[in-house]
């Protein structure tokens, strides 16, 4: 046995978590050095689904490249598209109709809710409770139905085009969103009953994977991961874009920095998203949903950067234009990439079981990391 098990010179075991592993939700490969059950070191090995989206975008026009960004963080596909559209619009200096901006924000928040619900279900499943996954999907299905009706697809919506949205909202949209809100509000208590207040769950997450505020800044963490550490980094507040300028909402902050704090940030963010949707759903202004743009888009020479908040954190879209019809260079600063870099720091000294809870609360989406 000794000659079969790979060990470090100190006699610690090297365990390969992934590339196919139930709790990595994709093809993430982690080399973990363990002494017994205690993790001593973690080395992420990524790139199994690297599709070089940045290189592909260099040969696609400004209308075309947006669709491929849905495939990065597929759970917040709409926000990725939104970021690209905002950057292109910034370059073109197009005024987006107010109606389109409001629709974009409502769909963004619905996407965030869908993403967080999937995260909640899969976190519970990682920790061994299998039933919450189905309760989460019951509500998530309502959102994907709304998406299907209005955007035409359930996950990779590709609803945004530069200058607005692809089509006007479906006549049933408002009614269905309201139905969803009623359903979600009546079921959120169940989520807390089943998972949040459960003593086993609390023991599994409290005090695990602590990330201090200073480390969150240094590791460039964003989104609920950083907000769980008390770092205020909600791009919707700091650089308000689209309709976020005109609505009232709170930035959710927790200070403990452990897995439970990150969990609570996301749970409270869901309620805040519902609050945002409630403010907007009855006040969708009338008017155009798509601004007039030229058939072939050409960005002026220059560099454009947009920071916006996806379900996982800050997405940066950096476009370098040479004045042509295709971008000269595109960089997507993906939230999962930076959050993953903090994983080694957070997991050291914890048990193998904690790896699941920390990775679960980081909410890593692997295509988002690999791009």
């Amino acid at each position: 046995m000794r000659n079969v098990v790979e060990t470090t010179p100190e006699g610690n075991m090297v365990l390969n978590v992934g590339p196919q592993h139930p709790s990595t939700h994709g093809v993430l490969h982690l080399f973990i050095t363990v002494n017994g059950e205690t993790i001593l070191n973690l080395d992420p090995n990524i790139g199994y689904i690297h599709r070089s989206i940045e290189k592909m975008c260099e040969s696609l026009s400004y209308r075309q490249f947006i669709y491929s960004t849905s495939r990065m963080d597929y759970l917040s596909a709409h926000m990725n598209n939104h970021g690209c559209a905002l950057t292109v619009e910034k370059g073109l200096q197009v005024e987006v109709p107010v109606r389109a901006e409001v629709i974009r924000v409502i769909i963004s928040e619905l996407t965030r809710l869908a993403s967080h619900q999937l995260w909640w279900g899969s976190l519970a499943m990682d920790l061994g409770a299998l039933s919450p996954f189905f309760y989460a999907f019951r509500e998530r299905e309502m959102i994907t139905d709304i998406m299907e009706e209005t955007c035409g697809a359930r996950l990779t919506m590709n609803y945004i085009v530069p200058g607005g949205v692809m089509a006007d909202i479906h006549p049933d949209f408002q009614r269905k969103v309201k139905e969803f809100i009623v359903q979600f509000k009546s079921k959120i208590g169940e989520y807390h009953e089943l998972v949040t207040n459960n003593v086993i769950f609390q023991n599994r997450t409290k005090g695990i994977g602590i990330l201090s505020k200073e480390d969150a800044i240094s590791y460039g963490c964003t989104g609920p991961t950083a907000r769980g550490s008390g770092l205020s980094c909600d791009m919707r507040k700091i650089y308000p874009y689209s309709a976020y300028k005109n609505i009232q909402f709170n930035e959710i902050l927790e200070t403990e920095g452990d897995s439970f704090a990150r969990y609570m940030v996301r749970m409270r963010e869901m309620e805040e998203s519902v609050n945002i949707i409630e403010q907007l759903i009855d006040n969708i202004p009338e008017g155009e949903f798509l601004a007039k743009t030229k058939a072939v888009l050409k960005l002026p020479k220059g560099e454009f950067y947009t920071r916006l908040e996806t379900a996982r954190g800050e997405l940066g879209v950096y476009i370098v234009s040479e004045g042509g019809t295709t971008p000269y260079r595109i960089k997507f600063r993906s939230p999962g990439f930076s959050n993953l870099s903090a994983l080694n720091h957070m997991i050291k000294g914890h048990k193998i079981g904690d790896l699941v809870s920390v990775m679960g609360t980081l909410d890593l989406v692997i295509p988002d990391i690999d791009r």
């Binding site: 075309q64 697809a153 990779t156 089943l194 459960n198």
Partner: protein, 157 residues
């Protein structure tokens, strides 16, 4: 003594939180009315009107379509899904007129991004709601969208 009362409180809190969770799942165990899954082959969900299943070309009763072969969709497509092969028809007046020979659609490359539909100036193509695309031979996924013998509708430029 405070140690003991804390210990008891801890145990009580833990047990009651577990019992609350069991009550919730117990409710679902005994109330199996609401079922969220669907039995697929018998029950086929009605897809929404806008659902993007695959690109189809609309033909009317006279087997006429509206595609002029302008290849706007071909240019708009990010993946090279669409290939348009043109031919030249001779009109009764003896003029040469451009028309499509075949509109080739590679379903295996398509990401259903809807950009071709938006780009089409004559609304010749649209998205169908069919979502069952699996076939046994990959070659069957390459489709010709214009029907055999179809021609351009009068008045469409």
């Amino acid at each position: 003594m405070s140690f003991l009362s804390n210990y008891i409180k801890e145990v009580y809190g833990a047990v009651s939180s577990l019992l609350i969770g069991m009550k919730r799942t117990g409710y679902y165990l005994t109330h199996n009315k609401e079922v969220i899954t669907e039995e697929y082959p018998e029950f086929r969900a009605k897809m929404a009107d806008r659902f993007r299943g695959e690109v189809v070309m609309t033909h009317d009763a006279q087997n006429e379509h509206a595609c002029t072969g302008c290849s706007a969709c071909e240019l708009a497509c990010p993946n090279g899904t669409i290939k348009i092969l043109n031919k030249f028809d001779i009109t009764p007046e003896g003029k040469k007129k451009k028309a499509i020979d075949s509109f080739v659609y590679h379903l295996e490359l398509c990401t259903m991004c809807n950009l071709c539909i938006v780009a089409c100036p004559t609304d010749a193509i649209k998205m169908s709601q069919n979502f069952e695309h699996s076939v046994y031979d990959r070659r069957l996924l390459t489709k010709q969208l214009n029907f055999p013998g179809s021609k351009l509708r009068e008045g469409v430029e």
